[in-house]
Symmetry: C2
Subunit: 146 residues, 2 copies
DNA sequence: TATTGTTATACTCTATAACTATA
DNA sequence: TATAGTTATAGAGTATAACAATA
């Protein structure tokens, strides 16, 4: 209850940072339970929608080319993604999930969502709606947020 | 505007994950501009309040002892923190900011807060109040969130 | 015996610079 | 020449296991 009072006096920026730490740890825990690193889970979840080229992957992850090469190498070595040569531009390649990778992407995404929903369930329903709405507007206002 | 519509249809869990990515990148950018890694900035900011022992630092960072030893080694090597033997329990030590470390901690914290406030400024004031309140209640509900 | 912290080791993550191959 | 991606190298971050010193 003392904690609750302290939290309620926080500035928005500090609250955002603390929520970020919370979500990061949820993400890390779920990843670990699925024998993945947070970065690997993020790659799998990014590829869940559709195959993505290395350059676009760099932009989505805010990483240098060589960092993404290594990241994709490691998940590929584990049989979770495959590289396909792009027939239109033969310099490029598309990275896509394998069946195993797709299964893991779904499971980890569901586990993260479940844990966050569990935490959010502590809030009254109207608060959840307000929170989701405000976050959505914040994301819409931020450049390059998705 | 299409992005805004898409964002507004998101689930709360997905919105939380996306805001987390946004804040992480803000944190990483600010760290880089101050020639620090995100982890080093986090250590400095944790120590801003008061000196902390290694074991407590492990709990705050959700890391193993040896990981924290290395992290503290690197910021100590840069003259940003110092280790002091605890006189009550001579196995333990307190890690505390140096004058340089304290200055950097203040600057990075201010820079992160400024950037997040700048993003939040895109929201109408009532939204900001609602968001801060809802995040505070979410943090209060989460175990070990602070 | 239990706890605090470090050391040894191995792997992942990341960036910079140099490179290959295609456009 | 410019772009897509890889390789080489180096340093930071992390975990596990074994260890030292103190409680």
């Amino acid at each position: 209850m003392a904690a609750s009072t302290a939290v309620s006096e926080m500035q928005l920026a500090d609250a955002l940072v603390r929520v970020t730490n919370l979500v990061q740890h949820v993400f890390a825990d779920v990843s670990k339970r699925h024998d993945l690193t947070s970065q690997q889970t993020q790659v799998l979840c990014l590829l869940a929608d559709r195959p993505v080229g290395m350059t676009e992957l760099c932009q989505l992850l805010y990483l240098e080319k060589s960092s993404v090469t290594g990241l994709v190498d490691r998940v590929q070595r584990r049989g979770l993604v495959s590289r396909c040569r792009d027939e239109q531009d033969r310099r490029a390649c598309r990275v896509e999930l394998t069946a195993d990778g797709s299964r893991l992407a779904e499971r980890t995404h569901a586990a993260v969502a479940a844990r966050l929903d569990e935490l959010a369930a502590e809030l009254p329903a109207p608060d959840r709606v307000l929170l989701a709405g405000a976050l959505a507007r914040l994301l819409a206002a931020a450049p390059d947020a998705g």
